[in-house]
């Protein structure tokens, strides 16, 4: 097929030059926000100030020198605080949230607004952390420490409930295996069970001894990985909601994590300019570091496994009009 020919060509080119880190130029620079790069099977998205941009998640876009990125259909002046592709019953959507409590649900391309909801608040509510249960629920963290649960269908979107999970501002929230995992700006990690009737019960809380803010969460393969601004990653088991391992990963704040969709592999990027990739524990095998690579002179703020087979890692960099790519290790 054309796509596999492309992939082979790109792989050959890379091998011939020996260079692993490549870059592709996009239209606008990336803003400094945690987890400022999102992806689904067709698109990538990132935030630039009060705008967001999407681009194709395909070899002819990511493996060329320059690719077209399209400005999303968000036109308010309120700066965007988070952006994520989510899978819902109505299909794959792109959700954008703001500091003032606006939740906009767009189609995959980001060009058509499907639903919009405003969380009632006095002043800034600082929505951060986006996840879904794959059906009708969207989970959003907030500056008040509550997780907002929105129910989204073709016809409407509305607030189902608020989970009083944290005492301080939530930084990220992820859903997996009937659990919500959330971390706040004091470093406290909370596991909340999601029951079949869409009610919620707090399972366990891990307090941070040092008041070190959390920065990102990635879930998958039975694990929840939580990153902190100290450069530490904690790996929790989702089955037992218990701490399994810690990785001293970076020398500065970790700004984004991403779990490989099909393999127990975790990527992290940091202010220290490095991309790290780890093979997570599997059976008796312990954690192995697969990649530790300086990407570029810049604050790395987003990472995603890209392309249909997740064979390419894409990294976004604050203040840069380039996205950097690296081949996924085998």
């Amino acid at each position: 097929s054309t796509q596999s020919t492309w992939d082979r060509l790109i792989g050959l080119l890379r091998m011939s030059t020996g260079a692993k880190v490549a870059s592709v130029k996009v239209k606008t620079s990336v803003s400094f926000l945690n987890n400022n790069l999102t992806a689904n099977s067709s698109n990538l998205g990132y935030i630039h100030r009060s705008e967001f941009y999407t681009l194709d998640n395909k070899p002819n876009a990511l493996c060329s020198e320059k690719c077209d990125s399209n400005k999303g259909a968000y036109s308010d002046k309120d700066p965007l605080s988070d952006l994520a592709y989510l899978k819902l019953s109505i299909g794959e959507v792109l959700v954008a949230v703001t500091n003032l409590g606006l939740v906009n649900v767009y189609d995959e391309s980001g060009q058509k607004l499907l639903q919009s909801f405003k969380v009632a608040s006095q002043g800034d509510i600082c929505l951060r952390g986006l996840s879904s249960n794959g059906k009708e629920l969207i989970f959003i963290g907030s500056g008040s420490g509550e997780i907002f649960v929105l129910e989204c269908s073709n016809k409407k979107i509305g607030l189902l409930s608020k989970i009083p999970a944290h005492k301080t501002a939530i930084i990220d929230v992820k859903y997996s295996q009937l659990h919500l995992v959330s971390v706040d700006d004091s470093g406290t990690v909370v596991f909340t069970a999601v029951k079949p009737d869409n009610t919620f019960e707090q399972v366990v809380t891990f307090a941070s001894p040092n008041d070190v803010p959390g920065s990102s969460i990635a879930v998958g393969h039975g694990f929840a990985a939580v990153a902190f601004v100290s450069g530490l990653i904690q790996i929790f088991s989702l089955d037992k909601c218990s701490l399994k391992a810690e990785i001293c990963a970076h020398t500065r704040s970790i700004n984004a994590l991403c779990m490989h969709p099909s393999q127990p592999m975790l990527a992290s990027v940091s202010d220290d300019t490095f991309l790290c990739v780890y093979a997570l524990p599997s059976g008796k095998a312990q954690i192995r570091q697969l990649v530790c690579e300086h990407v570029t002179n810049g604050v790395l703020c987003g990472v995603q496994f890209a392309l249909k087979d997740a064979s390419l890692i894409v990294v976004s960099v604050y203040d840069s009009k380039f996205l950097f790519t690296y081949p996924t290790p085998k």
């Binding site: 803003s31 700006d185 704040s253 490095f274 312990q286 530790c292």
Partner: protein
């Protein structure tokens, strides 16, 4: 919201950079000492006037780039000195890149407090001969301590994010930064994983395994980002002296010190410097990187800036209403536009070289021979003052 405390950090640190640059440029252009001192004292006195400081520390959203520029325009012209538009543009770009460099190189956002206090310490040194102005700076110093000392870690990260948003897409090459390896040729500030770890940081490469809440195994490896890493600073107290964080010190002072060392060692000021000097006659349009065209101030932004204008700017008066003023037609001599019309995405280069005596002489010749008395409103030239510049 913590991001509503970003303005004092922005103004004080950028203001500090402005004073460092002005001090160095006034010296390089042979402005007589008492005039230079007066300029610095007037600008510092205005910047730390009680009304201005009160308004500055009021919790508020961070100003736009154009409004912040207007504040510094007024500050720079609150003294007996007048700068033309080009000089002010370059001065602002240098201030921007200086603070952006410091912001990006903090290993932990709390180090911004150290950076701010370093600036204030140096400003105090500049006005040590003027007790009134010194008192104003000391009062502002106290206010910085009271406002920021007890902020939580999370608030510092929010502040850092707000400041980084302000500096997004601001990229100008500075010859001094390029020479010192602080900046790449594409205008990016050089960052490193090396050096001391942030508070609670740990050297990368350690894996710990837990069962039932207890550590059962620990493994150590040596990944690439664990090289040349030191433990967290043991006493990161910003009030301790000497301060352990050096960001915020005067990057431009060493050029002057180098010249003074050469002079005091009996060397000629025309001797070849050890490092290759930046090319003269150069505002060079270089390789594509980013993005100054995004910050060409369009009409809409100008109107917005005027509308927003700008309680802080309104509070900036002049300390020199009835005093004769002097103008500097070119604060950064021997830089001229060398635009390449085919190169659409470019990064400006500001040449900053205090050791170039040729440029100082030509600057003086320019003042004597090429004065344009029809320049923009606010420019004021007085002949006797010019003779004092020779």
């Amino acid at each position: 919201m913590a991001d509503q405390l970003a303005m004092p950090l922005l103004i004080i640190n950028m203001g500090g950079e402005m004073l460092y640059i002005l001090e160095q440029r006034l010296y390089a252009q042979n402005i007589v000492d008492d005039k230079s001192t007066k300029v610095l004292q007037d600008v510092i006195g205005t910047m730390f006037s009680p009304k201005f400081v009160t308004e500055l520390f009021r919790p508020q959203k961070i100003y736009s780039n154009s409004s912040t520029r207007q504040i510094f325009d007024r500050l720079a012209h609150s003294s007996i000195m007048r700068l033309n538009q080009s000089s002010m543009d370059k001065l602002y770009d240098l201030m921007t890149m200086g603070f952006k460099y410091q912001l990006l190189n903090c290993h932990h956002p709390r180090e911004l407090l150290h950076v701010t206090l370093n600036h204030l310490d140096n400003l105090k040194q500049m006005v040590v001969g003027s007790p009134d102005v010194l008192q104003l700076v000391t009062t502002a110093y106290t206010q910085v301590i009271n406002t920021y000392m007890s902020l939580k870690n999370s608030s510092w990260y929010v502040l850092r994010q707000a400041l980084l948003r302000f500096f997004q897409d601001r990229r100008v090459k500075v010859s001094l930064f390029l020479q010192d390896g602080l900046q790449q040729t594409d205008g990016c500030i050089v960052l490193s994983h090396q050096g001391h770890l942030p508070v609670h940081g740990q050297t990368p490469g350690v894996f710990r395994y837990y069962e039932s809440g207890k550590m059962v195994n620990e493994e150590k490896t040596s990944p690439a980002n664990s090289q040349n890493v030191q433990p967290p600073l043991s006493n990161p107290d910003p009030l301790a002296t000497p301060r352990v964080i050096q960001l915020g010190q005067n990057l431009y002072a060493k050029d002057r010190k180098k010249k003074e060392d050469i002079a005091s060692n009996g060397g000629s000021v025309n001797s070849t410097p050890k490092k290759p000097s930046a090319p003269s006659s150069a505002v060079k349009r270089a390789q594509p990187a980013a993005i100054s065209e995004q910050f060409d101030i369009d009409e809409a932004s100008k109107k917005a800036a005027k509308a927003e204008l700008n309680l802080l700017a309104d509070l900036i008066g002049s300390r020199t209403e009835n005093v004769e003023k002097f103008s500097i037609t070119n604060l950064f001599p021997d830089t001229k536009a060398n635009s390449d019309k085919d190169d659409s995405a470019t990064v400006d280069l500001i040449v900053f070289d205090a050791e170039d005596t040729g440029s100082r002489l030509s600057a003086l010749e320019a003042k004597l021979g090429k004065l344009d008395f029809s320049e923009a409103e606010g420019m004021c030239v007085n002949a006797p003052l010019l003779f004092m510049l020779i």
